[in-house]
């Protein structure tokens, strides 16, 4: 099911690519990942689980969970949601852990890269950090595990809020293109490595050490990357919710669905139940309507809508009801989602019996918050604290975005869940700070001052209150050595 008519994105038919799924010939389009091509062919079951042999499908769409693992050309555990589809590849459903073929398919020596600043993640924070550091004169290596740059900007078709200086009024998809153009202009100083995942990081005295794996057509390549400064901008992961049937194919992260439809032009299903009325839930619901998909309703466990009023109003005008104090009780279906039961909840989020309502839908989107991706930098000894307002455990950092480990910086959602606009400013701040600590200085203190005052403006509004408190707590932790004093 492809989207052809869309009010914002032009989804022209592209060159067809044929591939095999369980020996059956199928067609994807140029630009598809394996998972999106399969979805366009209405294949929702990608694997069966280890112990209970349950059907499993796509969830996060950005390579962070493990739901989309399949065997591709005999290699098991391939993350199909971020692996582009290629002509004649053989994709197989994977049962159990998968088995490696006997033939030796890796015979490459490790490569070593030495660079001044390494940036992990090429989303809004990572791109801005790379540009800011390059503008100061530093040499930068920008790494991303996806096959394209832009992080989550590439799926954001809505216009951003804020001031003109912070790119308000622009859509994420346009911003990603604009920033990428600038990165290309700096090609002398910004080296780009895509389809590369950092699998471990180690602390050094002068330089920090990263181990990364790059996916290449002829097998994986191991890299040892030595960087004087490391900026971690690897975003966040969508939260899962515990309810019966929560692993059925068709239960997706709202962001995963947004990726599927706005990046690859594939419909997730015909009728959607949205769980969560924060900004993500509201925006994705509206974008589902734009893609020609029905949204049955939005349910929100809290007594009031969490997202911006404008987004909720747009949705209501289109006839989509928003049920506050309601939650999902269960999902049901044989091989994939066929329906769900929603229920009214009391002030303690406990279901009130007798208020159950059955909904027939084929897709359930979970927009129940994000958790900062900090598991990687925990390995290097970066101190983390649980700060509810920042989305969970976050890395503690100072006002220059540097963590307690010297030379390790953090920016964007991994330093506390916020918006793309603030992630960009934080990225810029981290990039300039890292460059100045290496001795570069082109009006750096002025740039930093501007960044800090822009962040302050962003967080001063009523909707900036939660991130502002989160950031204040982070600053407090940095100074005092923890919240538990």
């Amino acid at each position: 099911m492809r989207i052809r008519n869309h009010p914002i994105i032009d989804f022209k038919k592209k060159r067809e690519i044929s591939f095999y799924f369980n020996k059956k010939k199928m067609y994807g389009e140029e630009g598809d990942t394996i998972a999106s091509a399969l979805h366009a062919n209405d294949v929702k079951v990608l694997s069966h689980s280890l112990r209970y042999k349950r059907p499993r499908g796509f969830f996060c769409g950005i390579g962070k969970c493990s739901s989309c693992f399949m065997t591709v050309n005999d290699i098991p555990n391939v993350r199909t949601c971020i692996t582009p589809v290629k002509e004649n590849i053989k994709v197989m459903e994977q049962d159990k852990g998968g088995e490696l073929p006997n033939k030796q398919f890796i015979n490459k020596d490790k490569k070593r890269i030495d660079v001044e600043i390494v940036i992990i993640g090429s989303g809004p924070a990572g791109l801005m950090a790379a540009l800011a550091a390059a503008e100061q004169g530093a040499s930068v290596l920008l790494i991303d595990e996806n096959h394209m740059v832009g992080g989550q900007l590439v799926k954001q078709t809505h216009r951003f809020f804020g001031s003109r200086e912070e790119k308000a009024g622009m859509r994420g998809i346009e911003l990603a293109v604009e920033l990428m153009k600038k990165v290309v202009e700096y090609k002398e100083s910004i080296q780009l490595m895509l389809a590369t995942t950092v699998i471990g990081c180690y602390k050094g005295k002068k330089r920090h050490n990263l181990i990364a794996v790059q996916k290449l057509a002829d097998g994986d390549q191991l890299f040892e990357i030595n960087g004087h400064k490391i900026i971690v901008a690897c975003g966040a992961l969508e939260n899962m919710l515990a309810f019966p049937g929560n692993d059925l194919p068709g239960v997706y992260g709202a962001g995963g669905v947004q990726t599927l439809m706005n990046v690859y032009g594939v419909k997730p299903g015909k009728c959607v139940l949205m769980v969560g009325a924060g900004n993500v839930g509201l925006i994705v619901s509206y974008q589902l309507l734009q893609a020609g998909i029905m949204v049955d309703r939005v349910v929100e466990a809290m007594p009031k809508i969490g997202g911006y009023h404008v987004h909720a109003a747009k949705l209501r005008r289109c006839g989509v009801p928003i049920y506050t104090s309601h939650s999902i009780k269960e999902a049901y279906g044989k091989e994939k989602v066929e329906g769900a039961v929603v229920v009214k909840v009391d002030d303690y989020c406990q279901p009130i019996s007798g208020t159950e309502e059955n909904i027939s839908c084929d897709t359930i989107c979970l927009a129940v918050g994000l958790t900062p991706s900090i598991r990687l930098i925990e390995q290097i000894g970066v101190r983390t604290e649980f700060i509810l307002e920042a989305g969970g455990h976050v890395a503690v950092h100072d006002s220059s975005m540097q963590t307690n480990v010297r030379g390790i910086y953090i920016a964007g959602d991994s330093s506390g869940i916020e918006e793309a606009s603030t992630a960009m400013i934080e990225g810029q701040l981290a990039g300039v700070s890292a460059a100045t600590s290496l001795g570069y200085d082109k009006n750096a203190s002025e740039v930093k001052r501007k960044c800090r005052s822009a962040l302050k403006v962003f967080r001063s509004g009523p909707f900036g209150e939660i991130p502002r408190v989160g950031k204040e707590k982070i600053a407090c932790c940095y100074r005092n050595g923890g919240l538990t004093y």
Binding site: I75, K108, G200, G219, M240, A242, R375, F386, H393
Partner: protein, 90 residues
């Protein structure tokens, strides 16, 4: 009858199994990891540890801050031994 509730999708662990282990006395995430392989699957606990932490909070009355998350170790994603073995000088 309602379907199973999954907490850890990689290792296929249900809420029932985790609840039972907590009742048996496995009261930290580290202990649950040792018993059930919670968080040891291919995504390395990115989704399940938070859900399991919530179950622990509910059952033990502890606050979220009091429950430590097991340390993160490399490799972060599934990597074949062949790829890691190309690191010849160590």
């Amino acid at each position: 009858m309602s379907d199973k509730i999954f907490i850890c999708r990689c290792e296929d662990l249900t809420k029932e199994e985790i609840d039972q282990a907590i009742d048996e006395g496995y009261k930290t995430l580290e202990e649950l990891k040792c018993k059930l392989r919670l968080g040891m699957g291919s995504c390395q606990g990115r989704g399940c540890l938070l859900l399991a932490r919530r179950l622990l909070c509910q059952k033990t009355g502890k606050s979220t801050e009091e429950i430590t998350v097991p340390p993160s170790r490399s490799p972060f994603i599934p990597v074949s031994i062949g790829t890691l073995a190309s690191d010849k000088d160590e």
